[in-house]
């Protein structure tokens, strides 16, 4: 069974559009994350939620708005998409927000903005 799942896997859209990426984890973890991976494979955290509460927000433009309806889901909504938003977006989860615990990653969503 998939532990961390994301939909869609691929997303191609025009500049200026609004789009959402969904993430779900069935691991019972308390903390979920969104990461952005650029064309050079650099992986950087964007947001972190613990039990539906925002705990990390890494200077991401406010066009990006995460939403956590419950602790098993963390969705990412992006308004007014720009060319520079093209990247692979990964959702992840971990048992706790602190401490020595690994993060489990989803398969990624490749976003292409034309």
């Amino acid at each position: 069974d998939t532990a961390v799942s994301q939909t869609p896997k691929y997303l191609v859209t025009q500049m200026g559009n609004d789009k959402s990426i969904k993430c779900e984890q069935n691991l019972g973890h308390d903390t979920m994350y969104w990461y952005k991976q650029d064309s050079k494979k650099f992986l950087k955290i964007m947001f972190s939620y613990n039990n539906k509460e925002l705990i990390i927000n890494e200077t991401v433009p406010n066009r990006f708005s995460p939403k956590s309806p419950d602790k098993a889901h963390l969705n990412l909504h992006i308004n007014s998409l720009e060319l520079g938003d093209s990247a692979v977006y990964f959702c992840a989860s971990s048992p706790e927000r602190e401490g020595y615990n690994e993060q489990f990653f989803g398969p990624g969503t490749r976003l292409t903005v034309l």
């Binding site: 994350y33 494979k41 992986l43 955290i45 972190s48 398969p107």
Partner: protein, 112 residues
């Protein structure tokens, strides 16, 4: 924003040889380190971790070495196989913060 600078470092090894992937971490306060493997089209996958109170940890065919003096981490893969071909990332965090900071990544290519 985008990362800048050099292309992704690459390491090419012959099947059966040992591989060593190096990583310099940035924060002297980091006390927990993880190596991740990312295959093409997939998300990063946990390989092995180490806490700062250790300098070596072994797993199945993998060993992580930590040198806190020079802030250096390495991943050794014994008897490298074609299935080991992937991009490998080191990541650091502290027990106080929870934020995982990833290194640049190294692409390992295994020749049969």
């Amino acid at each position: 924003g985008e990362s800048v600078g050099l292309h992704l470092p690459t390491l090419s090894v012959q099947e059966g040889d040992n591989s060593i992937i190096n990583c310099a971490y940035s924060n002297s306060a980091s006390d927990y380190f993880i190596w991740y493997k990312q295959e093409s089209g997939k998300g990063p996958q946990f390989i092995i971790d180490i806490r700062s109170n250790m300098d070596k940890r072994q797993g199945q065919r993998v060993t992580v070495l930590l040198n806190k003096t020079v802030k250096h981490l390495s991943l050794q893969i014994a008897a490298t196989q074609p299935g080991d071909s992937a991009v490998y990332f080191c990541a650091e965090t502290s027990n106080q913060g929870g934020k995982l900071i990833f290194g640049q990544g190294t692409e390992l290519s295994v020749k049969p």
